[in-house]
Symmetry: C2
Subunit: 793 residues, 2 copies
């Protein structure tokens, strides 16, 4: 079988849909995260549906798997040979045992741990039911020896039932109640306290409103609900007391430190196999029946069926669009992994090793929702309306809010509110669904108004926060949260916000006109004029654009600065927004190429700050080269592809893309240290001694944008009101590429040929065998598949 | 040597000043907390001065040791034989090694870990300098073999530098910067981010304003500042990679996961000993010099001197009062351990395994401050004034506040504010220092006023929150925080608050008169009259007093209730406050004896709630028998001694005391599971399957009160305005007891003889050989020692 991007730790399968790890001894943090069965089970959860109600088609997230058990403390299966007493685990952790063979496969919505040890082959597949609050652990054991074997299998999870992380376990554990139900082969757990306030605002006065369960597909040999009796004094999960006892201790109730340990026994003739299924989940009291869930899912047959449903579930989401290019990294990230990361990790799980988020960021998941535009625009629409509901009638928004039960901070951030009109426009480009603008959405402090007015109020709020020079104020910060001291006193300016707003107004002027809101359209035009003049007048530093001015009037991102001399954002967005004329755009991007485009991507600024600047903010408190301080901050680095593409610089656009496309780092995993199949939040910059080290994987807004850069700006397939624009900007060496994607109720199979080996320029377009004038393929909306043949030259 | 209260895990030294543990394998949670060198080092810190500035005589706490390193992750010393490669640790954790001998001694302000393993005797003494921000680790190694030995010693601490617990290590670790200073044999650590907001309210925009250090008294063989290189991939603190390498990796800077590892080498001839000192601390930038601190403390001579200073420091605090009775448990707890617990654990450390507090509770440390009254009333005064400064001009207070940098919640709790006048009265009884009432103290939202007015405003605020029946409203809750749904709507009543206020008014009427505030005195008298009538009219349930009524008008603590039928607090405080006449007092306490006084102390209520009651609060969410739900809640259980004593029931008073006096539980450590030398917050009640199990040790307000119960109400030595009242209420079997204590500038050596074996009743009193009429020994204030001889009969 072909192995894509092989490294000494693993490889992609030939179709790109799986990543196979061949040893648990992978680098940190990759090792801890993915390969040894520790945190990995969580990643598989994020795969197939974390926030159950969300998947089931409702907006409100009521539960999350991270609040169910202490993931980072392990969800383990111990295997024990009852004749020899030898024990090990179905994953490398927690026993860190010797093995003859070890292999972990991560696919879309599942993880599989296959190993051979002590003459037993084990194959553990972990996944979550697509539409039900149940995680499944399917374990198949095979006797590889020529003698009969007697084994038992023991689960270990630590109940959390409420909030992750559990900051005060000594208190919270007191409220968890466990009980066994032998008729269900299950242990049930309830919690009589939940950190949220009750209806009257009293804390610690409501139940966690679910019944959690762990269940087995076979009768229980024994069980335990208490950590102390399981682990024993002065022992550990590596060698727990439970593995020295004939059976588990059988302690349940409300008086211990609650775990879920089930033990089942299995006899295997030589060569024989046997499959056991464990389920872990939580049923909402009064709405779901834990017994029904347990019975429905806890069997090998149900497991097989559910895993098939997981495959179908993800196929619907990822296979609505498929690209084939000469770049296998671009193919597999675009087709599978970036979609998977954005949807499962960001939109549903909100979770990664580095950050377990309890909320939605107003800007964050709004941007992420673009990932749904091809496969299921209705999901993007729902996300947009959800965010609009977190707006105040004054136009500003909750900077983030708890996705369970709501609530969050109202700040003076200068850009969060503007992402609403920006993303609505993106949704309209794809769908032309102008009806969304009429969708009534309530404000947090006001009655429902059409979405159009939400967007207008956001823009008008931004209009109310300008400096006397005509530049938007920085406020608490802009897109770069770490600039949190630049403009607190409402004097500092953000040139990037000026550009961002400029870009938004361009799209909203015609929309306002269309809706008969001529006054607003005119106001937008006037403000645009101001922004253009003022940004070019005050924001141009000579060779590039300034990032900001501080409350004290100091420039930031200027040749006059020793540190933070040039920032990426105002220069790429000068191009993206169109605020710069062609000459300045080239000059700005020339500076970006010279100062910021490094071996591992485009830096956010340079040189890094080497010591804290209380007048700038916490970005200066990071080590130089780390994250937003002179590192490659991947989210922004994706936009540099966009800017290069708009300039028409095919080579640079592709380089800026290629350098941050994770599989390309497979050659140096010990330097990179991050998984090669998801984007990292950041990569250390050249001022770090760990230049090239990736970090903060999974929970990053870069996944969706990296996907979009490939499809929209390299392959150049861009939806617009009247159809699908085809305007590739590719490496000249490419012979051809294909794109199959859904678009407004039809499927477009696009083949782009490049016989002249140009980088751009569409020579001819044929649709269903007929020549087309221009390069905008029309809307068919006929449910059919249409073949588009494009020749560059 | 005599061993007091020996159990299979340890014993008290004959003088009661030390507790010696003879095995690390003690029960949970005791084992984890104290004996294996893991958390134990923290307890030793709490011993000798946690909040440095506070010790040094200032009110403001600026730092705390818990914020310095991750205590619960270990502060370890590895020992390694350089010839064999064998390694182990100076404490049982983290290596869990075999040993020939193991002994841990906890004294006042220090802990000592002595062991013999691999032919090496190690003796590690850990303590904190009394007036400087430095913790010392004095390690003496002795070669017990007849061959020369070459060893190295390696420290391991994980830097935290900011807040404990560290909830988001992946983020916070990015801001820690380590550097080595070979000239100081030290590794320094700074942090460029602190969770507090800056002056402008911007979060994450200030440095942690200290330089932390770890230093050795010898040249460094090697060092490391990074956890990954120290532990290695897929290894652990039990067997770290560092122990397989010739030297440490030497990684420092801002790019890893910061630790402090120093390595020094030692050669020992047969029989030879050698002492190495390590210091750990933090110097305030611009105020202290880390180099000076390191040089001053990091040597064997300095260590010897500092440990002597620790002994002197604690001797001054504990030896100002000394009792000798036939009850060794009462003696050693009263003389040493309760004072030590209250001062080190509660007032200074605010820390224990179960709860690491970042703040002062308004009621909590105010009560605790009574522990200073004998040894240093100025410290009590300072604590009182500190709490008064957390009051609003409306009379109410911050329920708790952050002791570093301030701030906390303003609630509708009904009793917190009243502890101010209550404790001020207690202070006055001891000192007669009426000048304290004139001390100006600012309000949080108003200018300074004399302390008298602070107390008056607290009382007047309480006057403003009555029900139409003349009973104080429960508000958010009373002393029992868990009753947090009883009175949120300001209808539910608290009979206990009625009694508490009644007791306070009795003392404040004369004080108001004295200050010429006759109107207020009259108002107090009128309210007292109402309270007395209304409590007896509406609060009497037939055999005992009700605890409360709910917003819905249901009684709580009534024979009509199935669960929570009788509560301790309203019944003992009916006696303590004097609100009940003698008949009802007896009847109420008879009910307490019948329903609540159990084998392990006096229960807070009975029967326990078995299921959550949203209309009562989170007390009902605990398992039945646990903590405030039908357990012995030690804080309140101490007050039952007081009530029995006021009734004159010597036997019951002593029983109520004896059953909660921790050394008496030494006989059943596997049931009790808590350390025998500090009070637990609670002991499981009879409805728990773990009846008699102690929990939540160290961080409990019961320590100070248990001390006071012994001295004031059993031994009966009670300061009052005109002198020292002597009114013992003791077991009739006692022959005699003595009390030596300071009182208003003189020392009183009191001997009480009981030739008739009575429980109470003073027959004769002689002072300095002269007979005294009555039993109030006068105030001498002459700096002399006065001998008081009392004969009961």
């Amino acid at each position: 079988m072909e192995r894509l991007f092989p490294s000494r730790y693993g490889y992609f399968s030939a179709d790109g849909r799986e990543y196979i790890i061949t040893t648990p001894l992978t680098p940190r943090p990759w090792g801890n995260v993915i390969s040894n069965g520790d945190y990995a089970l969580m990643v598989s959860q994020t795969g197939s549906g974390y926030s159950w109600r969300n998947n089931a088609g409702q907006n409100r997230i009521t539960r999350s798997f991270q609040d169910l058990v202490q993931d980072n403390w392990g969800k383990y299966l111990y295997l024990r040979d009852l004749d020899s007493g030898q024990f090990w685990s179905a994953t490398y952790k927690p026993t860190l045992h010797a093995y003859d063979h070890y292999q972990v496969t991560h696919g879309l919505g599942y993880s599989r741990f296959a190993q051979e040890a002590y003459g037993i082959r084990s194959r553990l597949t972990v996944f979550v039911a697509p539409h039900d609050p149940v995680e499944l652990f399917e374990l198949t054991l095979t006797n590889l020896t020529d003698r009969p074997r007697r084994l038992d299998v023991t689960t270990y999870v630590e109940w959390l039932l409420g909030f992750a992380p559990d900051e005060h376990r000594e208190f919270h554990k007191l409220f968890i109640d466990t009980a066994v139900d032998q008729s269900l082969n299950a242990l049930l757990a309830r919690k009589y306290l939940w950190g949220f306030a009750d209806e009257e605002g009293r804390h610690n006065n409501i139940d966690w409103p679910y019944v959690a369960f762990i269940a087995a597909s076979e009768p229980l040999k024994s069980f335990d609900g208490d950590k102390e009796s399981f682990i024993g004094l002065y022992q550990s999960l590596e060698h727990p007391q439970a593995m020295q006892m004939a059976t588990l201790a059988g302690r349940t109730g409300r008086f211990g430190d609650a775990i879920g340990a089930l033990q089942v026994e299995v006899a295997l003739a030589p060569g024989a196999s046997h499959t056991i299924v464990f389920t872990l989940g939580a049923a909402e009291q009064g709405r779901e029946d834990p017994a029904e869930l347990i019975r429905r899912f806890t069997s090998p047959a149900a497991s097989t069926q559910t895993l098939a449903a997981v495959h179908a579930f993800w196929s619907r989401l990822v296979d609505a669009e498929h690209v084939e290019t000469p770049d296998p990294a671009l193919n597999l990230m675009t087709n599978y992994w970036l979609k998977y990361q954005a949807i499962s990790g960001r939109l549903w799980a909100k979770s990664a090793l580095y950050q377990v988020s309890a909320g939605y960021g107003f800007r964050d998941q709004l941007q992420d929702s673009q990932i749904f535009l091809v496969c299921d625009p209705a999901l993007a629409k729902r996300q947009i309306l959800l965010h609009a509901s977190q707006q105040f009638i004054e136009g500003d928004v909750l900077h983030w809010w708890f996705s369970i039960r709501g609530g969050g901070p109202r700040t003076n951030c200068s850009d969060d509110l503007l992402w609403l009109p920006f993303i609505v426009d993106s949704y309209l480009q794809e769908t032309n669904d102008l009806a969304i603008l009429d969708e009534p959405v309530p404000y947090l402090n006001g009655p429902a108004e059409p979405l159009y007015l939400h967007c207008k109020r956001a823009i008008e709020r931004a209009f109310s926060r300008f400096s006397p020079r005509g530049i938007p104020l920085m406020g608490d910060h802009d897109w770069n949260d770490g600039l949190n001291a630049v403009g607190t006193h409402l004097r500092g300016e953000s040139f990037w916000v000026a550009e961002f707003l400029y870009a938004i107004l361009e799209r909203w002027m015609p929309l306002a006109q269309q809706r008969g809101d001529a006054a607003f359209a005119e106001r937008c035009a006037a403000v645009r004029e101001t922004l253009r003049w003022a940004t070019n007048r005050y924001g141009w530093d000579g060779e590039w654009f300034l990032q900001a001015t501080t409350d004290d009037g100091l420039p930031l991102g200027s040749h006059a600065n020793d540190e933070g001399r040039i920032f990426l954002m105002p220069n790429i967005w000068a191009v993206i927004s169109g605020i710069a004329d062609r000459e300045r755009a080239w000059q700005a991007m020339e500076s970006v190429s010279r100062h910021l485009l490094c071996e591992y991507g485009t830096l956010l600024n340079y040189p890094a700050f080497t010591r804290p600047r209380p007048d700038i903010g916490y970005v200066t408190r990071y080590a130089p080269g780390l994250r937003e301080n002179g590192g490659v901050y991947t989210h922004a680095a994706t936009w540099s592809v966009w800017a290069y593409a708009l300039l028409g610089d095919a080579e640079k656009a592709y380089e800026a893309y290629r350098r941050i496309c994770p599989p390309n780092r497979s050659a140096d995993p010990d330097r990179y240290k991050a998984e090669p199949y998801v984007t990292p939040g950041n990569v250390d910059g050249p001022q770090s001694p760990y230049f090239g080290r990736g970090g903060w994987t999974w929970y990053t807004g870069s996944a969706q944008w990296l996907h979009r850069m490939a499809t929209h700006w390299i392959l150049g397939i861009r939806p617009q009101a009247n159809g699908l624009l085809i305007d590739p900007l590719i490496p000249a060496a490419w012979d051809r590429f294909t794109v199959r994607r859904s678009f407004r109720g039809a499927v477009y199979e696009i083949e782009v040929l490049n016989p002249q080996h140009v980088s751009r320029g569409v020579a001819t377009v044929e649709v269903d065998g007929q020549p087309l004038a221009g390069n905008v393929v029309p809307v068919f909306a006929d449910g059919q598949t249409h073949r588009v043949r494009v020749v560059l030259g």
